[in-house]
Symmetry: C2
Subunit: 990 residues, 2 copies
């Protein structure tokens, strides 16, 4: 809390500011305009608001009148359903008929353009410069920012840089004629005697398309290199450059980039960076930056903002099970802003301050701080966004004389993202502007010390907390913005290298079993590197394993589910404690990138936790509908002995999922890992043993599929088989398991997850900025070696060229190399056989279609190139057969229906993705795109336990759903117990 | 409502009666006694009450101190848990240790004996006569009743009759010394000048062990015949005989028996019948009886009671989906009693009236009616139960001089049923005695006109009604007490006979298809009777059927589930309208008894209704756990084309269940009925066509399993197979379905319900009166041709002899003959092959064990005898192999654990039954008796849709559950659709 007297002065100052703008409204809240009306409506109706913002988002790509009309209908309804605010001035009956539709479309189009022009100073450099001059006429300085189209390729980055160079040179040309504010015209082009007239901001993410916190060093270096071109140009015009802050993913990279650039230009004062007060990290970041500046004796400049991605950060954190990086309460952010502003002002000699807020309380606080600390006018300025909060900019101009408008310019498409953020900002319930100008909250409340406000809200909320305790929660995904995690991977990899080759014996009845026959597990990136020597089981060992499982079964079966669940939870804890170590093995044994390996282990933990929770739920007898005098309970018991035959591509996750499901439901397990990942498979022995799984309950049996796999499939004591792998092997297992046997004890249950030939559809109105990164990940992540990987892209005619151009360019930016190198997007494929198979398919594909792109690849190691094939027809082999590599078949479709037909024209039916912003097409796809896991506006890989129960049908599997609520039922036999409760005509009413 | 003045007089009279017994309490409510204390506790604690009554029920068979102690522990807990009321006077710590347990057991034993003696006048005839003389000394006449042990065999009936003859002769001998009440000693032994001193009551159900409303005429004749012996003896002593009324099942039979007996003895005045006012039918029954009496000019006598089986009747009706035959409100019964008493009194010249109620309002009403109608004292008397409501009997004696005690006698075992009914009567919340003497309700309320009371309660209840609407409800079972239904069967059978032989063509793509190859369907009871000529499909037809199903599929799949559900509901309505007609075909085609055939069609209707309800439920996308910015929905789609291969034993129900499940989930069906029941199978064509199933969606394909069945199993366009039948065929289908095929489109789902070798365990404390009829039904119902049929009985040593003696005698009473004869319990088996197979197994069984019983059988027709085999060991073939006939293997077990081990020693695991009154053993069985459907204290056949989802594991099936909530999932492929709802960092909060 602030000292009372200071706070009183701030409030008094705030009131003065408010009084000065009494009766003025920002134009956004002016309900005589279309924008004002629409926003007023949006603030009243959450559904309309979200439809409106979504429509605004898609609007720029609706280039024909028909598409505009159909989207209006899909987003807002037809005729009477259309909100009157959208149809103002037009008749509503049959509105979206051919004539009415065109009219309405035209009107709406004009209005949205107008809305965009509210915030954007122009579409071209020329327009932008013209607006800036106009603003200068009104006494406002500018900071110009090119609207941040996602840069997905090196070419797009180059274009971004080029536009900045063009902008700088245009500004320079124009500035010759500019009269500086408060000062003389000079070669230095300074306003108020100290501020460069030319002031631009850049987005660091635009400067390196594959920037990734995992590859911290690589990302920083690449950005710095590209930024240097712009810095040089800025220096040439003696301009100011601010490095903008985007999402937290880029935050630490951005700070490091800033430090590097400053180090390269220690004496050039006009290089700044933005900090966001809504981040919990910012207090520390700011302190570190000031300390660094002192230590290096380099003056810095900070633009302090509240932060514009709050919803996004919350969503992102929620989806990844991370702690939110942002303050949960708006008031906490406001309080942080004041705290940080004060700290900067206290250090004003060393740090120039740009105060970028529309909040009058924040502004008043800064004014009071500056006054108290006697900060010279040349060391701080105020910034507001172009098009927003006009009364605020007016009063600031009057009060301080120094006001700069943050002025974006650029094309409509990227503009829409910016526009939506601005609209959100103005309409959110917590928006200071909304509260000040639309809702006229009490001044006392608006000007309250945010520390006090936050305290009050926190007290209100405490009773809510813990409501979700006990529910399953996915393990957090790897957060490589954390330096601790980034450091761990190389360390663990070193640890492993220090002890290889290791030895992996069989594990039967709780004991290691050595065999004479052995085989090696190698690093596919470096096949001469032998990671371990693995003992090879034969049929005798398999028979022993089954026998020991049979012996262990009754007592394991009779444990209460809660006991088995607790053991699995212990296993989860063990895996969690050793997460990076377990993952590091996969980096070496199967070529998984850090994040992918981490995700594999996380998924294993999720399976352990989720299945243990589900097993406990299922163990409670379920009362079925009951008639009087009768109680019927449904309960379950294990099927018996499970053979688990696992694949190499998710060597821990899938192995763990299948075995955990079997174990927690009371079955005993004979587990055969893939021969390509026996060392990772052996981790399960350590995990389960550490957790207390009794001897004989879990047996580990590395060996050949033809030998051990076949033997287990046919064994009469095996009651169920859980298999994940290719359709070829899966179908063979089904056949073997169903073959009658003289000692047969029942029907073997085969739980079979097989391959995929997964398609993504790119609709005409798809958001390519989203679609392309998602598809790169789905098609080429882990070298395309996922059953869920995208191997077909079906693109609507009208967008075909644009999509393929951008997509190919983006793919060309992906590096291929060892998975242990965090800068490589792709690693080696699993082994030589896989390599050869993929290379063969590439040859087939080249005959069937044309090569849109083929990358290079390292010479040694089991590498294959990325290949993107064009002109592929649905009947081509590369459009029908599973390749399991980074080979993507691209097809055209004349309309959405045709795209669905192509997508469905596969014997596989595992995953699919649709990128579209047409509600009708999305709904249609949800119904008609017949796959086990369909993703709308998302890539088709990365299903999470519980959230996306995983599995398909057709040749993709038996219609099971790993990680779903029904999955465990397959490992159980259902029993109904009926109690006749009537005795002598009397039954208790139970 | 009564005339106000009359009602006022009744209330005044009632008050007078109450005042006369002021401060007196029935001994049951005397809290200074053990019984009084225990009942007081029971009235406060529902759980204790039900445990107490259950313990009382089992108590007589607890013949050792250990068993008594262990049951006390199981029912009431140990040490501190024991309710103090049970341990009064004994220390509680370690109460049930070996010493304390014996002590407590002894004390409890004595107390329960005392409690029983409260209501029962003796265990032997001698004792009974002595008590009667004692009661006469106190001025009370008696009506003696032998406690109704269930008579399960002709021998037991004979014993019942013999005891009555002995009783009558003992009473005659004693009565020579009796001074009549109010009158002279005479040869006629009359009390009060008009009432026979010797007065007995009989239970008609005891007079024919296989009495059944279905066999109305047979049951009446048999009872009349046996009753005649007693009547003759009664007449010899000039005694009074009342035919008691038991449950509604026997009501119409009893009334008819009474009429027949009266017709045989038109002038003997001392033959009466009891009527129960709680039955809704009684007003009509009474009117008819009076009318009959007038018409026949035969005087009658009626004992009017309220009715003692209310709970039972409610339970029975609830379990059978019948309207309750009883009034729901106690006051409605009281009102009926007054109405009926008045009617009888109005006809007093023609009908003698015994008023049997303890309710002072009812008694007061009868006294006022009699006074108003000037009924002479000789035309009505009052009865109360021995041991109950002593103050009431006292005041009645004082007021009227004529009071008779209904005095049961007999052994403890049957006594307990009577005891529990009396305890219930005294402790129920609505009990007049409880309200009068335990709770001291206001006199105004106790004496209110019950018409008014009922009206008030009905008004209170109306708001509750309809709460369960929309939920699934099983189709009512056949209620053969209804004459309309009894008449329908012969009529429908005649209708069929008028049109046979019929023709059954194939049905493909909505059209009948004729073939050259044909086969006959015959009546197995009369193989020369050809019911129909059936066209035989070959592989070409099967290919056509699959092709037409494929063509019809997309449009059927795309119907909304609600539409398909509505079609199935129409099918259900059609089947409901034609229920008896459909059932009658099964009587002839496969030898199902009326009730079994009716149940088969009812089950078909249940499947249609239940699956349609479930399909609609499943069609609603299910929101899975969702993270912010993401919505995950689970939904389903049909698998495609289903081959349904059906058995003959539930020719409509199972066929309908499997096809309905496939259809309602959007699959198309190729249905192959059993070649033994193709005409019943063809009913599905009519049902589905009438309901509007489109052409090609359902195809009917009679033909040979080897040919058509195999072809369909292997067909690559078949996506799922639903099969019910033998394990042999089932496993072969699984094998064929799993064989890889070049055009394979996925893994065929096989839903397989196969055989059983089901065991029943008879624990030492089993209630044999319950167990034996249940087992007769489970083992021999429909000739044992059910996969759920009981074919093994495992009996604990100590009860082995008693059980087998009674069981064999009971089985010997079952008649074998054509199913169309309602007097036959067993009909023919399915065909000659089945007959031969069963006869072969009988030979095997005779070698393996000994024959405890073998019945005769009709010569012509496919009949087999009932065979009960003793000395069978678990490893014997007749203990391991499914016989599918009325052949029962009986085994001994040394304890309950051994019995479970034997029961589980089977490759089948379908159904099982346990008869035990040990809570611990029941609980253990629920855990350890490993079958799909386990029934505790109930037979193992007769699973109902929704209440007992049906199916087993091992060789019995795939762990599926027909008629359960999860069943439809097998006909569906699950799909998860994930919506990424984030656009530009913004996601609606949905």
């Amino acid at each position: 809390m602030l000292a009372p007297s200071l706070n009183d002065r701030i409030i008094a100052r705030g009131k003065k500011l408010f009084i000065a703008i009494q009766d003025e409204k920002p134009s956004l809240f002016d309900s005589s305009t279309w924008v004002g009306k629409v926003l007023e409506w949006a603030m009243k109706d959450e559904h309309f608001k979200s439809q409106l913002f979504r429509f605004v988002d898609v609007f720029p790509v609706l280039k024909s009148s028909e598409r505009l009309t159909s989207h209006i209908r899909e987003y807002f309804g037809d005729g009477e359903q259309l909100p009157p605010v959208l149809t103002a001035g037009l008749k509503t009956a049959g509105m979206l008929g051919s004539f009415g539709g065109a009219l309405l479309g035209k009107a709406l189009s004009a209005n949205i353009h107008g809305m965009a022009r509210q915030f954007v100073i122009g579409e071209t450099t020329e327009e932008a410069v013209r607006t800036i001059e106009h603003l200068r006429g009104a006494g406002f300085a500018s900071a110009v920012d090119l609207l941040g189209e996602a840069t997905l390729s090196h070419q797009e980055t180059q274009h971004y840089i080029d536009v900045y160079l063009e902008l700088l040179s245009a500004l320079q040309a124009a500035s010759h004629n500019w009269r500086p504010f408060l000062g003389e015209v000079s070669a230095h082009h300074l306003d108020w005697g100290h501020a460069p007239q030319i002031n631009v901001a850049v987005k660091p993410s635009a400067l390196y398309c594959v920037a990734d916190p995992r590859d911290f060093e690589g990302s920083v270096a690449a950005i710095v290199k590209n930024l240097e071109t712009i810095v040089a140009a800025v220096r040439k015009v003696n301009g100011f450059l601010c490095i903008d802050m985007e999402s937290t993913r880029m935050k630490n990279i951005t700070l490091e980039v800033y430090r590097r650039v400053k180090l390269a230009h220690p004496d050039y004062p006009y290089l700044g960076v933005a900090l966001q007060s809504y981040l919990r990290d910012t207090d520390r970041d700011l302190a570190e930056l000031l300390e660094w500046s002192q230590l290096q004796e380099i003056a810095i400049a900070i633009r302090l903002v509240k932060g514009a991605y709050w919803d996004y950060e919350m969503i992102k954190a929620g989806q990844n099970s991370w702690l939110p990086p942002v303050w949960l309460l708006k008031a906490e952010t406001d309080a942080a802003f004041e705290r940080q502003a004060r700290l900067i002002l206290e250090n004003h000699e060393q740090c120039h301050f740009a105060c970028a807020s529309h909040n009058i309380r924040s502004i008043a606080a800064v004014l009071e701080f500056a006054e108290e600390l006697a900060v010279p006018a040349s060391r701080f300025e105020f910034q507001v966004l172009y098009g927003m909060a006009e009364p605020v900019r007016k009063v600031l101009q009057r009060e301080t004389g120094r006001i700069r408008l943050y002025s974006p310019y650029g094309k409509m498409v990227p503009g829409m993202g910016y526009l939506v953020r601005r609209l959100l900002e103005n309409t959110s319930n917590e928006s200071f502007l909304r509260r000040s100008f639309a809702e006229n909250d009490e001044l006392e409340q608006l000007l309250e010390d945010p520390v006090i406000t936050a305290e009050r809200y926190r007290n209100l909320q405490t009773s809510d907390s813990g409501a979700t305790s006990g529910l399953f929660k996915n393990e957090p995904t790897a957060d490589f913005t954390k330096i601790e995690l980034r450091k761990q991977f190389p360390q663990r990899l070193n640890d492993i290298r220090a002890k290889i080759p290791v030895t992996a014996p069989l594990f039967i009845n709780g004991r290691d079993v050595m065999t004479d026959a052995r085989f090696a597990s190698v690093n596919p990136a470096l096949p001469e590197e032998i990671l371990g020597t693995v003992h090879r089981a034969d049929r005798t060992h398999a028979a022993d394993a089954v026998a020991s499982a049979l012996t262990a079964f009754p007592s394991w079966r009779d444990q209460p589910a809660s006991k088995r669940g607790a053991i699995l939870q212990k296993a989860a804890s063990y895996a969690r404690r050793h997460l990076v170590e377990l993952a590091a093995w996969q980096v070496l044994e199967i070529g998984k990138q850090w994040d992918q390996a981490y995700a594999d282990v996380s998924e294993a933990i999720d399976f352990l936790e989720f299945y243990s929770q589900e097993a406990i739920r299922l163990a409670k007898p379920q009362l079925l509908s009951n008639a009087p005098g009768e109680l019927n309970f449904l309960n379950f018991e294990p099927r018996g002995i499970a053979a688990v035959i696992a694949p190499w591509n998710f060597p821990l996750a899938i192995s763990c999922g299948m075995t955990a499901a079997a174990l927690v439901t009371g079955n005993c397990v004979v587990y055969k890992p893939s021969s390509l990942t026996p060392l990772t498979g052996r981790q399960l022995v350590e995990i389960y043993t550490a957790a207390g799984v009794p001897p004989g309950v879990f047996n580990y049996l590395p060996g050949s599929g033809d030998d051990i796999g076949d033997y287990l499939s046919a064994h009469p004591d095996i009651n169920l088989i859980a298999f994940t792998g290719s359709a070829e092997v899966g179908l063979a297992i089904c056949e073997k398991a169903a073959r009658r046997h003289p000692e047969q004890k029942g029907i073997k249950r085969v739980i079979c997850e097989m391959g995929g030939k997964n398609a993504a559809i790119i609709d005409e109105d798809a958001d390519l900025d989203e679609a392309i990164p998602h598809l790169l990940q789905s098609a080429f992540g882990f070298q395309g070696q996922k059953c869920s990987a995208c191997s077909r892209v079906i693109i609507l005619e009208s967008i075909y060229q644009e999509f393929t151009n951008r997509f190919v360019a983006a793919a060309a930016a992906l590096r291929i190399g060892p998975a242990e190198d965090p800068g490589c997007f792709l690693g080696p494929v699993a082994d030589q056989a896989q390599q050869q198979k993929i290379l063969d398919y590439i040859q087939i594909g080249k005959k069937e279609g044309t090569v849109l792109y083929e990358s290079t690849k390292p010479e040694s190691g089991y590498y294959v190139p990325i290949v993107i094939l064009g002109d592929i027809k649905p009947e081509h082999r590369v459009a029908q057969e599973e390749i399991f590599g980074p080979v993507l078949s691209v097809m055209r479709a004349k309309d959405f229906g045709a795209a669905l037909a192509i997508a469905n024209a596969s014997k596989y039916a595992l995953t699919g993705a649709v990128f579209s912003r047409s509600p009708a097409n999305l709904e249609r796809a949800a119904r008609e795109f017949r796959v086990g896991n369909l993703y709308l506006n998302r890539g088709c890989t990365g299903a999470l336990v519980e959230r996306q129960p995983f599995g398909g049908f057709g040749l993709s599997g038996g219609g099971t759903k790993a990680g779903g609520k029904e999955y465990l039922l397959q490992f159980l036999n259902p029993r109904v117990v009926t109690h006749n409760t009537v005795r002598r005509g009397f039954a208790p009413t139970e």
